[in-house]
């Protein structure tokens, strides 16, 4: 068994490419999700998109277009409901996304033919990634990266302080709409690789790890994208040898990295404290150890 053995199989190469792109995309979008404190909406939307996916299937509509539009509409509906103020964002997400998920389940139970794909939608199926899927993933990744690059300053300001951004003339309404669209697209193309149950992990863990390592927004964006991409690649590569679920492996690799980085940051903090304490008590510092 050689280290390059997985690359001999075209479906594994497609899977590795898809996981790397999806990992990077989730890491990139995840920065904005986490910093807007929207982790729950990401998790909810990934469930809601299932309704769109099954509806598209039943209506013989293009899966990517149908599910993306469905996810986008769910995000807009959540925003609209939240604006009424009497209903909190968490409650609105709970109602809309679970209702949408329930639509998916009802349609699956009514049209039995979707049952085989249901497992893939829930848990991901990297081996089932086709050339068409890879093209769709590449297009969404490129579009999301382009939108977030061109609107970098606007997205930064609106994410940091949406009210002040509005006062400074940033078109926050457009930013919200664009972000909902990018988020819905990301979730749809990530379904095949990670599954709706694991997308939340891939969007939340990389930005948190990046945040532990940097205080600069630009660095957090770059680091989170890189961490997501590398973990996506490593997760699929490892799952080939260990023969376990691909989506779960990607998320577990990210969780392991989070644990390592957390331990490193804590250790670094303790060492830094010890050095400061030693410096404070050394004779040169004039601390308690000083002898006149």
């Amino acid at each position: 068994m050689s280290l390059f053995e997985p690359f001999e199989f075209p479906f594994i190469v497609r899977g590795l490419a898809a996981a790397t792109l999806v990992g990077g995309l989730c890491g990139l979008i995840g920065v904005y999700i986490v910093l807007r404190r929207m982790a729950y909406i990401g998790h909810g939307l990934s469930h809601a998109v299932l309704g769109g996916a099954v509806t598209s299937y039943v209506m013989s509509f293009n899966f990517y277009a149908g599910a993306t539009v469905w996810g986008f509409l769910c995000a807009q509906l959540i925003a609209l409901t939240t604006r009424k103020r009497k209903i909190g964002a968490d409650a609105a997400i709970g109602v809309i996304t679970t209702a949408s998920f329930a639509v998916g389940i009802v349609l699956i139970s009514r049209y039995k033919s979707f049952t085989r794909d249901f497992d893939a939608a829930l848990f991901g199926n990297i081996l089932g990634v086709t050339g068409g899927d890879l093209v769709a993933i590449s297009v969404v990744t490129a579009a999301a990266a382009l939108i977030l690059f061109i609107g970098y300053k606007h997205f930064l300001f609106a994410t940091f302080d949406v009210e002040a951004a509005r006062f400074y003339g940033v078109p926050t309404g457009w930013i919200e709409t664009l972000f909902s669209l990018v988020l819905a697209g990301t979730i749809v193309v990530s379904m095949q690789v990670l599954g709706v149950l694991l997308i939340a992990g891939a969007t939340v863990i990389p930005p948190i790890v990046a945040r532990l390592l940097s205080d600069s927004f630009k660095n957090v964006v770059l680091l989170s994208t890189a961490i997501g991409a590398v973990c996506g690649f490593v997760g699929i590569y490892v799952s080939y040898y260990v023969d376990i679920s691909s989506g779960a492996t990607v998320v577990l690799v990210e969780a392991a990295l989070f644990t390592l980085v957390m331990a490193y940051v804590n250790l670094r903090g303790q060492l830094s404290l010890a050095v400061r304490q030693r410096a404070a008590t050394s004779p040169d510092a004039g601390g308690p150890g000083t002898v006149d």
Partner: protein, 293 residues
């Protein structure tokens, strides 16, 4: 007055004009029948209890409230037609201090809309931000995270963000809340410097004494404007009672107008400071017992 030069108040066209404005949020009216003229170069403090509409008045100038009646003009243009270009400094309490952003990144946000179609900041934007940080004494903090700064330094960061956008009007929401007295004085000195460079400043605050000592113009409000003018004429026991609904002894001491903390029990003022006249509106009063009702 903190600044060596006297405050200059332009005459002529008001830079901010509210004409019989009633406004609020949705169906909730917060301000009613407010008419105000703020002149170019003014340095105005908004005083009033919590919920009196101070922040709403700032938001009215920013064009961010529902106006039910009247007209709001900023630099001659209705806020309903065009969002005014003003610098805004939010309350520090509203900032997410765990957000990964350095001092430089926070200051650069003020240049976001000046070249809106470029994804990156231009060289002149970065130079402007560097100059502003230098002017406000925070240039050495540029690569640091905003949470690592003191209260005064944090206030300067958001002042710098507002100033790099090149505003003629600066709005500050409680810029001295939660900071110590020295930092408060530093911030007020800085605001005076900025005001003397021709920028009109409107700020909300709960610190009556800071306003009385430092600001040339005060507006007392509680759902509507109750009084406006120089602190010496506006800050009286009667106006404060109308504004806050509480008795507040006003002391005139060595040319300063001071508002005493209201005691919760009988207190005997045995030896007033030399030259102090205790009583409403500066009337000299003999030694007496003060009772808070």
């Amino acid at each position: 007055m903190l600044h060596p030069l006297p405050h200059h108040r332009d005459q002529g066209e008001a830079i901010v004009r509210l004409q019989d404005v009633s406004c609020g949020y949705g169906k909730q009216e917060v301000l009613s029948g407010v008419s105000l003229d703020i002149m170019p170069g003014d340095f105005v403090g908004l005083l009033g209890p919590s919920g009196s509409g101070k922040t709403t008045l700032l938001r009215t100038v920013l064009g961010a409230v529902d106006v039910y009646r009247g007209q709001v003009l900023v630099e001659g243009t209705s806020t309903g037609r065009r969002r005014p270009k003003v610098g805004y400094v939010p309350q520090l309490e509203t900032i997410d201090w765990n957000f990964p952003v350095t001092v430089r990144e926070a200051v650069m946000m003020g240049r976001t809309m000046d070249n809106r179609f470029l994804p990156w900041y231009r060289r002149q934007d970065r130079m402007l931000a560097d100059e502003m940080m230098e002017r406000l004494g925070i240039s050495h903090l540029a690569p640091r995270h905003i949470r690592e700064l003191s209260g005064g330094q944090q206030q300067r960061v958001f002042l710098a963000r507002a100033l790099v956008s090149g505003p003629r009007i600066l709005l500050l929401d409680e810029p001295t809340s939660g900071v110590d007295m020295k930092t408060r004085d530093d911030v007020m000195h800085l605001l005076h410097e900025i005001n003397h460079q021709g920028i009109t400043i409107i700020m909300t605050t709960h610190e009556i004494n800071a306003v009385a000592v430092h600001l040339p113009w005060v507006i007392c409000m509680n759902g509507k404007v109750l009084a406006e003018g120089p602190p010496s004429s506006v800050i009286t026991s009667e106006t404060l009672k109308r504004t806050y609904g509480a008795e507040m002894p006003v002391i005139h001491y060595r040319g300063m107008t001071l508002v005493a903390e209201s005691p919760h029990s009988f207190t005997r003022i045995s030896e007033p400071p030399s030259g102090a006249d205790v009583g409403a509106d500066g009337e000299p009063e003999p030694e007496k017992e003060v009772e808070l009702v």
